[in-house]
């Protein structure tokens, strides 16, 4: 709510205040998705700002540029993940997870002195990937319109006399106000003046 903060709007004095909160429209998978989105932001910023530290910790020296690019990718997927289009964000996170795992597996090579760290990171990413998959399946399912089950409302005309008999019924006694008529605006703008 940037505007809200910038203008320091506040609730008016007499307005009702929340006494006890009730159940929310947010589901568990909505909350999980939101957490994953913020995780993307945290990780993305770290990768962008401290790629050298990450490379040293995992034995991936020389891949700093790649890590930075991954940071940008994380931030880019955080945006849809935190939006109402959660499936798009989660799908892009899952694609990112696969890239992360591929890169980390190169750090699992036998000669790497930081192999233990890389193994821990690998396990963490696998865990996060599982969460992404669960959240993706859940939000997809909860936002789906059940295909082919739509009801037929063709008996709901709302016009008690039927569409044909209703056509133009209001023309008998309804005058369109001047400001909604073609002649209104022009006539008002150029008042007739006596010669």
């Amino acid at each position: 709510m940037p505007i809200t903060n910038a203008t320091q709007i506040a609730r008016s004095k007499g307005d009702p205040r929340v006494v006890r909160k009730g159940p929310s429209s947010l589901t568990g998978s909505d909350r999980l998705t939101r957490a994953l989105g913020w995780f993307s932001i945290g990780l993305g910023l770290t990768e962008l700002m401290a790629p050298g530290f990450i490379a040293r910790t995992l034995g991936l020296e020389g891949k700093e540029a790649l890590i930075r690019a991954y940071g940008a990718r994380e931030l880019a997927s955080a945006v849809p993940t935190l939006s109402v289009d959660k499936p798009v964000g989660l799908a892009s996170r899952i694609a990112g997870d696969v890239l992360d795992l591929a890169t980390l597996s190169s750090a699992l090579r036998p000669g790497n002195a930081k192999r233990d760290n890389a193994a821990i990171a690998f396990a963490l990413v696998i865990g996060v990937t599982l969460l992404d998959l669960v959240a993706f399946a859940d939000v997809k399912a909860s936002h789906r319109r059940e295909r082919g089950t739509h009801r037929d409302y063709s008996d709901r005309s709302g016009l008690p006399r039927g569409p044909q008999a209703s056509r133009g019924l209001a023309r008998r006694d309804f005058d369109t106000p001047p400001d909604d008529r073609a002649e209104g605006s022009v006539a008002d703008a150029v008042p007739a003046t006596a010669p």
Binding site: D15, P80, S154, R156, G158, R167
Partner: protein, 391 residues
């Protein structure tokens, strides 16, 4: 009391809140008997409209019984009377109210300075909406404080059910104004984009106002079936080309009148690639709304035609083909509905069996199911078209 409260994006809860109290002589308190969820509430649900505060009470379509009246409202309103509350709050005295432009009332926006900054000049106070329009607590609640209650009410007879009267608060006059703004003439073809509750009311209004052919555009089969029930020809934009079909149906000349009952959140889909771009821009705050329907209407409209915009837009939009609009000489009319301007006339039409707005209700549930119903209505799940809530 219980109320549906906004806590953030997609986060609406049925909370217990303190009861509203009379704050001003012109106030009244009503005990809400029925209220509804509107497409405009979905823009708030998605946090597309700025200046909401966590703790704001939702809802602008409500009716009920007067339980308390301030001294200055006593002349026109009495305890026990049954009223529908328009979503616009009006003073009845300012220059705009005098002209019937009730959604532009100059006096009822209690956060007028905010309105002045955001819009250039303030507009009317609205219930259950952003603080740019006063941030008044809304009516998806057991009780509602009605400011300027001496003029902000529609008295309704006891003999008619809530179901038929509730929509005088918003979608019926809104759909009516959408059609009136289009200045419909006998012989006109009127194309209506969007078959949500507002579009449905617009279609019926266009028929009553004498449109020869009404064309309804959407992609949800259940909504198209409801449009067809009123005699509209339907176009499914996911399976058909809107422009081709409109030309076919008008001997290549285009509709005389085009009405936008979709607004800010045009459906995002591969078949309409501009919506993908708009959605991406929206996410990174380069654009506020997805104006696909505006673009399509300007292109489809017959030269010299009228474009009536009743769907809500919230801010900045991109790539509006102003060149087409200017060269084709189309007229634009748009507004938040001036609800009380039309309600006496519409109440008479309900009593006279010209229209029965209850046709649009597909879900009737307890207020406490509200948070769940916001999701159902948003996802267009369970063939949901209009949700009525019972506090």
């Amino acid at each position: 009391m219980r109320a549906l409260v906004w806590h953030g994006k997609e986060d609406i809860r049925c909370d217990t809140v303190s009861d509203p109290q009379i704050e001003d002589d012109r106030d009244a308190i009503i005990k809400v008997t029925s209220c509804a969820i509107c497409g405009s509430d979905l823009h708030l649900f998605h946090n597309l409209i700025p200046a909401m505060l966590p703790g704001d009470i939702m809802g602008h379509e409500s009716m009920g019984e007067v339980v308390e009246v301030g001294a200055a409202a006593k002349a026109t309103l009495k305890k026990g009377e049954r009223v529908v509350i328009p979503f616009t709050i009006q003073c009845g005295e300012c220059e705009q109210c005098q002209r019937g432009n009730f959604s532009l009332c100059q006096r009822t926006n209690r956060k007028g300075n905010l309105g002045d900054k955001a819009f250039g000049h303030r507009t009317a106070g609205l219930f259950g909406y952003t603080h740019l329009t006063g941030g008044y607590p809304g009516g998806q609640a057991e009780f509602l404080r009605v400011p300027f209650a001496d003029t902000t009410h529609i008295k309704v007879p006891d003999s008619i059910d809530d179901e038929k009267l509730l929509f005088l608060s918003d979608i019926l006059p809104t759909g009516w104004q959408a059609a009136v703004q289009a200045d419909i003439q006998p012989g006109d073809t009127v194309a209506v984009w969007g078959c949500g509750p507002v579009g449905q009311m617009t279609i019926r209004s266009a028929i009553l106002l004498g449109a020869e052919q009404v064309i309804a555009i959407d992609h949800l089969p259940e909504r198209l079936s409801m449009a067809a029930a009123a005699g509209a020809v339907t176009i499914n934009f996911e399976t058909e080309s809107v422009i081709e079909r409109l030309n076919e149906l008008t001997s290549g000349e285009g509709p005389h009148k085009c009405i936008d009952a979709v607004g800010s959140e045009s459906h995002v889909n591969m078949g309409q690639p501009d919506t993908l771009l708009d959605r991406a821009k929206q996410m990174v705050m380069l654009e506020n709304d997805r104006p696909h329907v505006l673009r399509e209407m300007i292109y489809a409209c017959r030269p010299g035609g009228v474009i009536s915009i009743i769907g809500v837009y919230t801010g900045l939009v991109d790539k509006i083909p102003m060149g087409q609009a200017m060269n084709k000489g189309v007229t634009f009319r748009m507004a938040q509905a001036h609800v009380p301007r039309w309600t006496d006339d519409l109440l008479r039409r309900i009593e006279d069996d010209q229209i029965d707005p209850s046709f649009v209700i597909t879900h009737k549930v307890d207020l406490s199911d509200g948070p769940e119903m916001y999701r159902t209505f948003r996802d267009k799940a369970d063939s949901c078209i209009k949700v009525m809530l019972k506090p």
